[in-house]
Symmetry: C3
Subunit: 225 residues, 3 copies
């Protein structure tokens, strides 16, 4: 369906751009965690392809696109190489990377939702899987780096909401039979702009009401030390 929305080559180029910028974010985290060159490559691959891989496993699209399209596999390696040699410069343009990452978020939540719907999922499930496509790679990246996923942390700017908005707009368009290149493009842009605004204005999501937990924070690292 998306293939009819955009021409295949346009769609493929958009995918590769999203993969590339996600891979940059994975590789940069690997550099900060002091990983070696293989760790950088692995984290780049996982961040870029993890979300789509999960989606493809869930909808039964095996082998997943990550393993059938050579460009999908090689693009993260290119990003890893770039970060390996140029990481101070890449970090300096972190703001630029964040913009691209926001673009990747917008693209993936929309394309993930459409692909899930094409494989027969319901509208709500498709939107949920579109969200998982967009944020899954970043969660895997953080798990492998042994960090609390930044998706879950309250002290990070909104990341899930823009993807939820984009995926929901697609679902609404599908339900009204109004999915066109224009409307899906609007959904991408909406998610993209919302994420940019969240970063600029430091929008954050609320934590649980009246949080003054009576149960002390658990610290298993001490318990098992």
């Amino acid at each position: 369906m998306l293939q009819q929305l955009f021409s295949p080559s346009v769609q493929h180029t958009l995918d590769l751009i999203g993969i590339f910028v996600f891979a940059i974010s994975g590789a940069l985290l690997a550099v900060r965690k002091n990983f070696d060159v293989f760790g950088i490559a692995v984290l780049a691959e996982v961040t870029a392809l993890g979300g789509g891989l999960f989606r493809d496993l869930v909808i039964g699209a095996v082998p997943p696109a990550a393993f059938t399209d050579l460009g999908y596999f090689l693009t993260p390696l290119l990003a890893a190489l770039l970060v390996f040699f140029l990481h101070p410069q890449v970090e300096r343009i972190q703001a630029g990377v964040n913009v691209f990452d926001a673009a990747g978020l917008g693209l993936f939540c929309v394309s993930g939702t459409i692909k899930a719907y094409e494989y027969g999922l319901g509208l709500t499930a498709s939107a949920a899987l579109g969200l998982a496509t967009a944020v899954g790679g970043g969660v895997l990246r953080d798990v492998l780096a042994n960090e609390v996923p930044s998706l879950l942390r309250w002290d990070r700017d909104l990341y899930a909401v823009p993807a939820i908005v984009g995926a929901s707009m697609v679902a609404v368009c599908i339900s009204r039979d109004a999915l066109t290149p224009l409307t899906s493009g609007i959904a991408v842009v909406a998610a993209f702009v919302l994420r940019l605004l969240a970063m600029r204005c430091h929008w954050r999501a609320p934590r649980a009401w009246n949080r003054r937990s009576t149960v002390r924070e658990e610290d298993p690292s001490k318990a098992t030390a």
Copy 2:
């Protein structure tokens, strides 16, 4: 098969109860880890649906039930909302939550084993997958929260053993062609009661014999800092 054991609506209600109480435990951990409202929702979903999702991927039942049944998807969100607004009260009734969690453990290890067997797995593999269904969500919850899975830790009351017992009872019943609503109900109750007893009596599993390791405890967090 289980559909013939219980009426579909009874089975569905039991499933939703199990999903709900597992989601509560995920949402409570998210509150303790200071996650925001989306982190609470994600951890509730993952805890409630992760085990069944893994089972469905392994047996090739795609798309998994978690993405085809809207009730499965919405129930954890309801639990997350409840915890978000009422978490001090939910914590106060932690004992009650633990009882429900034990019920979920019993239900899931039995239904997971039966579903795996229906999809053609052997008896031992079915029981193993039933165990994975029951405990998988909790393991994913702890991994995402960047904690050592409580399933693995020696300083937690027995959790795996009740599920192993329940799953094994189902496997034995199947092998003797004696799986009826009664026998599978007994398996659920056996796992449930064993888990309650383990919590009440603080039963714990032994650690490795003669543990006085000659290899010092590794602490990679320091090595990579």
Copy 3:
């Protein structure tokens, strides 16, 4: 294809040896992390079967071999029992375990690549999945133990490179229609010997060039505490 390379029983025996030694490494980590007997068993299973399970899910070979072959399931339990009772001795022969682990690495990267190719993946994707088969279990082991995967850390001897070499040799042989028991055996031995040399000579991979990051190391454990 591999079935024609080696006789089925030889192939099965090689697989079980690889599974056994990987399980030993998982069980030993569980002992060091102070897990109980079930934690030891779970970590043994995950380490031994995780890589192949991931490969089988990706290529759509469900149910995965880990759940259809009883020997695959029971071998890690045997390893866990052994470590449970004899772990000081097992640790003393750590050097021997490392040699077996290197053998498992060689076997799995070769057999994983061949199986992926048989299921229709391209040569590059097959080699990548062969690599994932060989190292995936160890990554899952470290994630469950809440450690940074040793695969990614710069302060560990080369682990990925030998597997990459073995998998690539198989891919080259397939592309030249030269995959025979001899050539695939050579690939196994090449990966095996490279890993042994890496351990003996402490070969390590480089970290990012000019690493003097301008972004401070993030420490989410403090931020969320």
